[in-house]
């Protein structure tokens, strides 16, 4: 007992690409739609139909490869992976085994011990399968081919991660790069990013890799963390009790917090991979590759450096804003319209992030335009509306992308800038709150807050609270 174990983890990450049409036909990739409405003879495997590669898929795959420092194959092929299952209309999946599009890359992650390089073994293109719906009531199964032929890339890492934290850091880095490229929205819950965890343990200090298992069905970072902890523990217990880890595919059940074996290596299928004769080899030309390279966006690190130079905002703000390309774009565009980077950053970091969190949304879901945010900031600046009203307007804008100028006008929420009206109300408040007035005069500074509140209430929130405070002090 008392042996120290090291966890060795490699990931296979499937990412659904954000193309408008499927990988080998012209059907839309749009989510939803009644079953089998986003289909055609090609993606339902009708006889005599042929696949034609969507060039955008190649473009995205290469862009991700470049962003992860991969070698881009100048010559690659598609292979058929043969297996019978009804979600797969041809009974073979078109994928890449022998000559994938990208190889030998790496990305850098931040760990507790500093920066660490995680190797990317390869990236290949493939098609997704349809969806089976088991109707237990009718005792039958139905199949929906809307997803059949949705383009995917599979990113296979090296066995380079040693903890759940490293895995999460790797996935977050990958997600950020791909989102910056616009190649996918990478949502784990919705399945546009899926990670299978290959995990083995070995005695600390040894070199040889232990027998690994592959864990599937991990739909959130939390599930991944729990599955890694659970599988590490399971394997160590097995070894400690004199058993052996069996190479197998396991399915994680996040509700139970356990995994169970799906199939072992012994009954692994023979996929009879061979080059798909219906697709010609993909030749990547230098000129085309240069164009893709030139079109690579500014990634987070470069963006952060630039922000530090261009905008007078704290590094903390920069880190949060650049964590999402959508957020960074909004920030830059809004600042371009109304200046005031710190104010823009505050709205995004405080209010926008709060609402996103409350609604369970991601920055990619933000609907309001930079134009409207800029207008809102200008309304507050010119004191057309006061702070609390601005927050209310922001909430409405967040949900419906309204034009703040028109909205404030319609609602009649402009700050009342009428000295006489304000003086009248302040006098009323002083007259009817003798207790607080007395407290204030006796040195209780806090009492002024209550009196401002009462004034705002009587002004229906449309007064400038600063001005009300000054007037109260003046009259007391």
């Amino acid at each position: 007992m008392g042996k120290q174990y090291e966890t060795v983890i490699g990931l296979e990450v499937h990412v659904e690409l954000a193309t408008k049409t499927k990988i080998f036909c012209g059907c839309p990739t749009a989510f939803g739609g009644a079953p089998n409405t986003h289909t055609c003879p090609v993606c339902t495997g009708m006889p005599g139909t042929l696949p034609v590669l969507n060039q955008k898929v190649l473009e995205y795959a290469v862009a991700v490869g470049l962003a992860t420092n991969c070698e881009i194959s100048r010559f690659c092929k598609f292979d058929r992976k043969n297996y019978f299952y009804p979600d797969n209309p041809q009974n073979y999946q078109i994928s890449q085994l022998y000559l994938p599009i990208c190889k030998n890359g790496s990305i850098e992650i931040e760990t507790e011990e500093g920066k660490k390089k995680i190797g990317i073994h390869e990236i290949h293109m493939e098609e997704d399968a349809g969806k089976l719906i088991h109707d237990e009531w009718e005792d039958c199964s139905l199949v929906d081919y809307n997803r059949s032929g949705i383009p995917l890339i599979e990113i296979v890492s090296g066995p380079d991660m040693r903890s759940a934290a490293e895995v999460i850091a790797y996935l977050e880095k990958l997600r950020m790069l791909i989102q910056y490229l616009g190649a996918s929205d990478c949502r784990l819950q919705e399945g546009s990013m899926r990670a299978d965890v290959n995990l083995s343990v070995r005695e600390a200090g040894t070199e040889a890799l232990g027998t690994r298992t592959e864990m599937k069905n991990l739909n959130s970072f939390r599930a991944i963390e729990r599955a890694i902890a659970g599988e590490r523990e399971r394997q160590i217990e097995l070894l400690e009790s004199g058993g052996k880890v069996v190479q197998e595919t396991r399915r994680w059940d996040d509700c139970q917090g356990e995994s169970y074996a799906m199939r072992s290596k012994e009954d692994a299928r023979d996929y009879r991979y061979f080059p798909d004769p219906d697709l010609v080899p993909v030749m990547v030309g230098e000129e085309w590759l240069e164009r893709i390279k030139a079109a690579q966006p500014e990634f987070r690190e470069e963006k952060m450096e630039r922000y530090k130079k261009e905008y007078d905002i704290p590094v903390y703000d920069i880190e949060i804003i650049t964590a999402s390309k959508r957020m960074a774009d909004l920030f830059e565009e809004t600042v371009g319209l109304c200046g005031q980077p710190k104010k823009v950053s505050n709205w995004l970091m405080v209010e926008a992030l709060r609402l996103l969190k409350e609604m369970g949304m991601e920055p990619g879901d933000i609907r309001f335009s930079p134009e409207n945010l800029a207008k809102l900031i200008q309304l507050a600046d010119k004191k057309v509306i006061n702070g609390p009203v601005a927050k209310k307007v922001f909430e409405v804008m967040f949900e419906q992308d309204i034009d703040p100028e028109k909205y404030v006008e319609e609602m009649g929420w402009e700050t009342v800038d009428d000295e006489d009206a304000l003086r009248e109300v302040v006098e009323e408040v002083i007259a009817s709150n003798a207790k607080s007035v007395e407290d204030y005069r006796n040195g209780k500074e806090k009492a002024i807050g209550f009196l401002i509140g009462q004034t705002m209430k009587r002004m229906k929130g449309k007064a400038d609270p600063g001005k009300a405070g000054r007037m109260l002090k003046e009259l007391l």
Partner: protein, 496 residues
Amino acid sequence: MKMDVLDLPAVELAEKIRAGEVTAMEALQAVLDSIDEKEEIYHCYITVDRDGAMRKAEAVQKKIESGQLCGRLAGVPAAVKDNICTRGILTTCASRMLGNFIPPYSAEAVLRMEKAGMVIIGKTNMDEFAMGSTTETSAYGETKNPWDIGRVPGGSSGGSAAAVAAKECFAALGSDTGGSIRQPAAFCGVVGIKPTYGTVSRHGLVAYGSSLDQIGPIGKDVTDCAALLEVIASYDKKDSTSIKRDDTDFMDALSEDVKGMKIGIPIDYFGDGLDDGVKDAVLKAAEALKEKGAIVEGFYLSLVEYAIPAYYTIASAEASSNLERFDGIKYGYRTPECGGLHDMYKKTRSEGFGPEVKRRIMLGSFVLSSGYYDAYYLKALKVKALIKKAFDDAFARYDVILGPTAPAAAPVLGASLSDPVRMYLGDIYTVAVNLAGLPAISLPCGRDVEGMPVGLQMIGDCFQEKKIIRAAYAYEKARGPFAAPGLLTSAADGKN
């Protein structure tokens, strides 16, 4: 008058239609009558679309009269092999598996024919999924050779070749994966062209061996085949293996001038196993071309004996995967009773496919399985590359390679099924052409001792269809008209 029409080659028929001497409807009616008289004997068709064809003939006739259609084959009734999809018309691949399959789309080649004003009569019989060399593996019964109903028409495009020979159509589409156009054309005394891979779109052709499959024309003479190939050749975005060509005006190659044309005869094609009658007829044809000014010489092509094993390995491997989609889930045959998914797959495929198809699926699955992939499939690909190289070397010296299409004339019915390996060996002269992606033509060059037609094959380098068409046309003119078979009709001699 009616018999005159049926005797016409397609291009001449179209001329008469354009000239107003015959209408498209009359031509079609002649063919339908011919089918009525002879189908019971020859069984060339799986489906005849009488009403649809007549409607199309009427529409085409109007367009010809109004000058909207003036193509070289406008108004000509033609047949299509049953592995080529036709929208709204049953497309069975001669298999029980697709016994109820009506495609919602037409193959690109069919669309091109329709655009050219050709009238699709129906779908011709074939070996199941194009696997076979005799048309006997069809789930819908065998086709008889119009020259001798005791013999096979060849295969797999046996229905198309026999329909042309029996005057049940003016021209037809076939498909050729290892000789399936050329060999039945040879056995039935008609002409067939297997184009350069990529020349005719494979969209809508139910795949057998995808890297080898090509659709091509079968016709009464070289002119008709050149005309039909010109109609169906096209670059098609729907087929990634389709090739852009600007030299598909094949009728321009119809010239008798072969002076100085270099013709090579592979000496290794004339060894054991070649029937004497075939050998004599082919060498005589070479002599005729020499007399017209061609330079004819023998050479060693090499690797001839490796073509068949390489072909059956590659074609079966691709077929085993291509035919996986026939599982009873989406279309086609599904077993009526089963217990669960696995059982459904097993029974559907066991009941839906015939023995030759199963044999090739098993062979193909085996050569692709882990542990055997390198030894069989990869090795076959290497052989394929070497064969291509051997042809490249030959075409550095010759314009055309001339030889027999098949080692013997059509065998008697039933002789091949019991010995599939012997049947496979009959493909010795045709499969290498598919492995190398080359164009080749087969045309009749005489008859053997039993009076059966013998086929002459001429092979060209990639994209050199025009050379083989020119050589074939020149030979055809030198040869003179080829006798037609004495056809039977069910009314008179059906019981013969």
